[in-house]
Symmetry: C2
Subunit: 193 residues, 2 copies
DNA sequence: ACAGAATTAGGTCATTTGTCCTAATTAATC
DNA sequence: GATTAATTAGGACAAATGACCTAATTCTGT
């Protein structure tokens, strides 16, 4: 009784390899070899590369949904929930410096490939957008909520891109710090000078 | 007497194809076919794919240097120079929505491929960083100049990434507008309320 | 224990990849 | 005009790719 089904193992490994090496550059053989399974076995579970990509995106959406749910459970205040999001830049800094943001890099790669799944990859972004939008709305930002969500997503994506070019921990902390200050002024409007 | 040498044509086409389709996904055959030249001719000018990449990066660095120089010539005020940089988001919005930022996407792709040229791609970023840093310093930002340059680069990169996922012109103009306001407060410190 | 379904192994196939070679053609130099 | 150098054409090559098939094995329900 394996801890994970072969299919789950394939999706998990493909997820990691797509992130670390890119979708196009990762081959069937790479995934099968990394798992120690035969190509035939692989083909039984996924007939085309696009099917694996679909399954990987499904997995990422589930994981994202779970993570966003956890952040909402851990903190009651919208501001603290949003801070949990921002701090993944620090938590995952090592991987981001090496491979960028999994969401952003997949989206841009599929855009270049003109891949049919680009829209699905953008849906992962949309999940973050809506969740952040909900938090800003709950924090009393009303109509600005969605704009603020997009703005914050962009800020975080930008830091992630810069991290791969300049792996500088000080830069990360400085940017995260500035975002925290910005959130502070947003959620305590009577303290702005 | 051709307007461009074969070698120049190859580099130019490779540049465009690498941007629109990615480095890994663009093959020798793609470039040769797009130019209508034979593979043998191609091989005469570039023996390996890495050589083409190097030439493309050289070209981009030259073009970038020229563009930054032009912006410096067109405007005397550091703030206006920096605005020229920010507004490429609007000027090139169609291509960015389709393929992202050429600098950022190449950097992240080469990072994932663990490619030797990743450092050279980051040098293009470094050119922008230093140029922006010079402008901020000329604008009286002193020690903060480099931090501000990195911050602004990140802001622009973030908008570019979001544009590929959400091709929304309003978002672009909103973000560019906010950056302009931010620059305004930076360069006119006595007007902050 | 056994039949049927699910899963896995191993190999095949046409195509494409990056790399490379040789012969032909064009351009430059004396 | 002859000789040499630079450039181009048109393949060839092994390796890798995504896709596919069949036979063997393992699991499942009865």
């Amino acid at each position: 009784m394996p801890a994970l089904s072969t299919r789950q193992q394939i999706v998990e490994k493909a997820d990691a390899l797509f992130y670390a090496g890119g979708f196009e550059a990762t081959s069937f053989a790479d995934i099968a070899a990394a798992l120690g399974i035969s190509r035939g076995n692989f083909y039984y579970h996924f007939r085309t590369k696009d099917e694996i990509l679909d399954a990987v995106i499904d997995r990422r959406m589930e994981n994202t949904r779970a993570m966003l749910g956890n952040w909402a459970e851990e903190d009651d205040a919208p501001k603290d929930r949003i801070l949990s999001f921002v701090r993944i830049l620090v938590t995952n800094r090592t991987k981001i410096m090496a491979f960028g943001c999994p969401v952003g890099t997949l989206s841009t790669e599929l855009a270049k490939l003109d891949h049919a799944a680009h829209g699905r990859a953008a849906e992962i972004f949309a999940m973050y957008r809506e969740w952040l939008s909900d938090q800003f709305r709950a924090g009393g930002q009303g109509d600005r909520a969605d704009s603020l969500a997009m703005h914050l997503l962009g800020r975080v994506q930008g830091v992630a891109v810069m991290m791969t070019a300049f792996p500088d921990e000080d830069f990360i902390r400085r940017e995260v710090g500035e975002i925290e200050i910005w959130l502070g002024t947003l959620f305590e409007p009577d303290i702005r000078n």
